[in-house]
């Protein structure tokens, strides 16, 4: 496999810590990423909402670049880029669409018939590296950390284009986090939309949808939400002060990129993972986890003391009995 890497525009800005932690975690796992030379923006939602051929052309330019660099697969951390790149490739099977896209590009349309495969970095790690290999490299497993895995709406949907995991109840990130020693809480909103980029234009939508997600994580007893999408992260973390918390009870809920937790478990230093770039202090989650561990240890100690006392009592009773018989 020759893996091309498509960072996506937000990786240079608001999701810089996703980008850094992705590179660091992949390096720690021996996954070599070749950045697509001079990659350009896929156009995100604004492009596909305007015209599909335009969106297809903006995506295809990057896939052609990856092929030219000798890569057969493109991996991207961002689900929005993923969705555009994958959809473009999928639709190239249609001759009419391919011709239309070809007319917008400097390339000839026949170059577009056989473009590299596209996958999310999550898929790359889970399917190509594999959970067993990852587990074997975990140096600092999480203990007591309860996490709500949030996949976002489009990483697995629509299923016939994305072809990865379950469209309604994905489990790949759950399994990965479990392999890192974390405890996954039951989270019913794994693929419910957070409100995407409507925070700027219609804050009411994001306030309601992201609030519902954070509330569910809180009610499930999570110490943190774990995401795989720059937009989800921004809505849940940066906008946490704007959301409507159902039931009114706001908490500070750290929101990690899964690559940050992965890197940490693999022993990558925090500074390389951009933990300090999260808005809600991630330390809150680790302190809550430490409390769980301490409570468990206290419970175990109490149980052990109880058992010891019981044993001592039994020994005493036995000794008294022996004494009585003597």
């Amino acid at each position: 496999m020759n893996l091309a890497y498509y960072p996506g525009c937000s990786g240079l800005g608001t999701s810089r810590e996703y980008e850094r932690s992705t590179r660091a975690a992949c390096a720690a796992l021996g996954v070599k990423l070749t950045e697509i030379p001079d990659w350009s923006c896929c156009g995100s939602t604004p492009a596909h909402a305007l015209e599909h051929a335009l969106s297809g052309a903006l995506s295809a330019r990057n896939l052609v670049g990856a092929a030219r660099a000798g890569c057969d697969t493109v991996a991207t951390p961002c689900p929005s880029c993923l969705s555009n790149l994958k959809t473009a490739r999928h639709r190239m099977a249609d001759d009419g669409f391919r011709a239309k896209v070809g007319r917008l590009l400097d390339e000839s349309a026949d170059k577009l018939a056989d473009l590299p495969d596209v996958q999310s970095v999550l898929e790359t790690l889970v399917t190509r590296v594999g959970l067993d290999a990852i587990r074997a490299k975990v140096r600092q497993p999480f203990a007591g950390l309860r996490v709500a895995p949030y996949y976002g709406c489009i990483m697995t949907r629509p299923a016939d284009v994305m072809r990865f995991d379950d469209p309604e109840n994905p489990t790949s990130m759950d399994d990965l986090l479990t392999a890192l020693g974390a405890e996954v809480v039951p989270f019913p909103y794994k693929v419910e939309c957070c409100g995407a980029s409507y925070g700027v234009t219609r804050r009411d939508i994001v306030a309601r949808l992201s609030g519902r997600l954070l509330g569910a994580a809180r009610d499930a007893g999570a110490h943190a939400v774990v995401v795989a999408c720059p937009l989800c992260q921004m809505n849940l973390d940066l906008r946490q002060t704007q959301v409507e918390w159902p039931g009114g009870k706001a908490v500070d809920m750290p929101v990690f990129y899964f690559t940050q937790l992965l890197g940490r478990a693999l022993g990558v230093p925090d500074a390389e993972l951009g933990l300090e770039q999260l808005c809600v202090d991630p330390g809150i989650a680790f302190r809550r986890a430490a409390q769980v561990v301490a409570a468990r240890q206290a419970e175990e100690a109490a149980q052990a003391a109880k058992a010891a006392a019981k044993a001592a009592q039994a020994r005493q009773a036995a000794a008294v009995n022996e004494g009585g018989r003597a």
Binding site: L12, D38, W39, S40, C153, V200, R202, D204, L209, Q277
Partner: protein, 186 residues
């Protein structure tokens, strides 16, 4: 109640255009309501997504294209995933936006203004420049930036690039947009 003589407003060309551009067979919708039930944005829609499908079948072009819902759809694909008849409903929503824009109908101007600011940034730099998009959006809408309260939260994180990341293939990207515009006006 809104009573309509379906025959009098039925626009067959419109029905065919939507079917053709989306590649979806609208006649397959039997109004089970699954798409509406799962749509996270239904609470702000003026016409629910299954009602849009029904109106499409009836060829009620104005009703559909003038609705706010098509601009508030989040493209989350929940509807597509749950449709028992395998209709890619989200793709239909996309196509409705395409047609509405071509005809100059936009019921939620703020949304398209933001999208246009985003695409203008891509066209200019090759990659989107986040601060520039927001500045452009604020300039075009005349709105004071409503997210100003977030500034103290994000500014210290060193994530807002003060400068765009231009690429070498900028002209190539500009040409894509130019050709797109030429095709559209032809």
């Amino acid at each position: 109640m809104d009573v309509t003589n379906l025959e009098s407003v039925r626009d067959d060309d419109f029905i065919h255009a939507v079917m053709e551009e989306s590649g979806q067979d609208l006649t397959h919708c039997y109004q089970c309501g699954n798409c509406t039930a799962g749509c996270p944005c239904g609470f702000v829609y003026d016409i629910q997504v299954s009602q849009i499908m029904r109106n499409l079948q009836a060829g009620r072009k104005d009703k559909v294209l003038n609705s706010r819902s098509i601009w508030l759809c989040l493209s989350c694909s929940s509807c597509t995933t749950r449709c028992p008849n395998n209709i890619d409903v989200a793709r239909v929503m996309d196509v409705l936006r395409h047609i509405a824009r071509r005809e100059g109908r936009v019921a939620e101007k703020g949304v398209t203004t933001f999208w246009d600011a985003f695409l203008a940034s891509v066209r200019k730099h090759g990659r989107v420049y986040e601060l520039g998009v927001v500045a452009n959006y604020v300039a075009r809408t005349g709105r004071v930036w409503t997210d100003i309260d977030l500034l103290p939260r994000i500014a210290p994180k060193g994530k807002l690039s003060p400068m765009p990341h231009g690429i070498q293939g900028r002209d190539e990207i500009a040409r894509i947009f130019q050709r797109y515009e030429e095709e559209r006006t032809r």
